[in-house]
């Protein structure tokens, strides 16, 4: 999604893009079958 560049603001470049947010969100998580509390 392109946006007009704002006047230089150092922090703006550190904001994650939409793509980066999607990438960080792992779609598969493994947990041990023994990894839930309340089991003998």
């Amino acid at each position: 999604m392109s946006q007009p560049k704002p006047t230089p603001a150092p922090d703006a470049e550190l904001e994650p893009t939409a793509e980066e947010l999607v990438e960080q969100d792992l779609l598969v998580e493994d947990v041990s079958i023994d990894g839930m509390c309340g089991v003998y």
């Binding site: 041990s32 023994d34 990894g35 839930m36 509390c37 003998y40």
Partner: protein, 390 residues
């Protein structure tokens, strides 16, 4: 929404459950979470148990942790294991090892669908037998030897951490390594007979912190049943979901078909229903008042203002309940010491709920008191008794 937040709202079926097959047991461990010993005459029949297995299959519950009492004392134990395998329900069973003879070991080694967990609570006979009874260490080690000889791969060794064995963690690891087993160490809860001995047996704050450090170091190879999520307040969370799964992703089916939020919460307060009801286990799981209540977003109560609540979730409700603490406050073993403070402040005024269900063969009086020690044993109900502190 984070995965943990999804789970706290509950799923349409548990991910896995604990199923205590019988209250009968040949041992009389002092801290038994289910106060086992005598068989209950109302135990589920073989046909009823098979029906439960088929219901678990329909609900796609992948894994069942079978325990008791000592599950292998049921005459239909092997038949039920086979039935589970035929119906796509994976099984792990916990045992003291007394019925794992060479034939049983061979049978288990020949199947790929059953996991075996042998219980010990000391890395030496002296420490173990003080809790589990004379000869119990040798029995457990014997079972592990027979499993190894039969070629059974990767049994589990399950330990409840106590004040007496907290210094033996490396030794437990060595025992596990010796048998090619996976070590599992779990939290002592003041549940069942555990309520009687909790004051003397639960780890000290120093031991608890050392335990946490040890788990950080060994977390990859050692299982915990996610039972130390209350220790997340020390810092980095340990592997596991780190939440109370009771009534949300796990629950207990007891030998008479009663459904409790978890095996450490055997008390009317946490009883959701019974599998013998027309709605069956699935109906109890989905519609019971108790589970509906547990799945509502929890506020955190007195813990909400603590910066660590997100990590520790206020700890274990069974630990709070059976030490007479309010459920909306700190865990008795709160990493920050808030539980200790509360226990001390409330002292002898704390009313400690007795377990609703007690199949102990002999229930010794926990401490000197002027009550008839057989009073609870004979009573129909579940009297609340005042507990003195340590």
């Amino acid at each position: 929404m984070r995965l943990v937040e999804e789970f706290e709202l509950g799923l349409d079926a548990p991910i896995c459950i604990t199923w205590e097959l019988t209250y009968a047991c040949n041992l009389a461990c002092v801290h038994c979470l289910s106060s086992s010993g005598r068989r209950d005459p109302r135990e589920l029949t073989t046909a009823e148990a098979k029906g439960v297995i088929e219901e678990l299959e329909r609900m796609q519950i992948f894994y069942v942790n079978i325990g008791g009492g000592e599950p292998t004392v049921r005459k239909d134990f092997w038949e039920l294991l086979d039935h589970a395998a035929e119906h796509h329900v994976g099984v792990k069973f916990s045992t003291n090892g007394s019925r794992i003879d060479a034939a049983a070991a061979a049978r288990l080694a020949a199947s790929d669908y059953v996991d075996v967990q042998v219980s010990i609570d000391g890395a030496t006979a002296a420490v173990n037998d003080a809790v589990r009874g004379p000869g119990s260490f040798d029995t457990a080690i014997g079972a592990l030897e027979r499993l190894a000889a039969a070629g059974f791969e990767k049994p589990k060794i399950s330990v409840v951490v106590t004040r007496q064995n907290a210094g033996q963690l490396d030794d437990f690891k060595a025992i596990a390594d010796r048998f090619g087993a996976q070590l599992r160490i779990t939290r002592l809860r003041p549940s069942g007979r555990g309520a009687d001995v909790w004051d003397e047996l639960h780890p000290t704050p120093d031991q608890q912190r050392s335990l946490y450090m040890w788990l950080l170091e060994h977390g990859e190879e050692v299982l915990t049943g996610d039972s130390f999520f209350h220790l997340s307040a020390y810092g980095e969370a340990l592997p596991g979901l780190n939440l109370c799964g009771a009534g949300r992703v796990v629950c207990l089916i007891d030998p008479v078909g009663d459904v409790y939020a978890c095996p450490f919460a055997i008390h009317d307060e946490f009883l959701a229903g019974n599998v013998r009801e027309p709605r069956g286990f699935e109906g109890v799981w989905r519609d019971s008042d108790l589970f509906t209540e547990l799945r509502r977003p929890q506020s955190g109560g007195a813990c909400a203002s603590c910066g660590h609540y997100d990590a520790c979730r206020g700890g274990c409700m069974a630990a709070k309940f059976f030490t007479g603490l309010p459920l909306d406050g700190p865990d008795p073993e709160c990493a920050l010491g808030h539980g200790e403070g509360l226990l001390a402040a409330r002292g002898a005024d704390r009313a400690i709920p007795a377990p609703a269900v007690d199949h102990s063969r002999v229930r010794p009086p926990a401490r000197v008191c002027d009550e008839n020690p057989l009073a609870e044993y004979l009573a129909a109900g579940a009297p609340v008794r005042s507990g003195a502190g340590a």
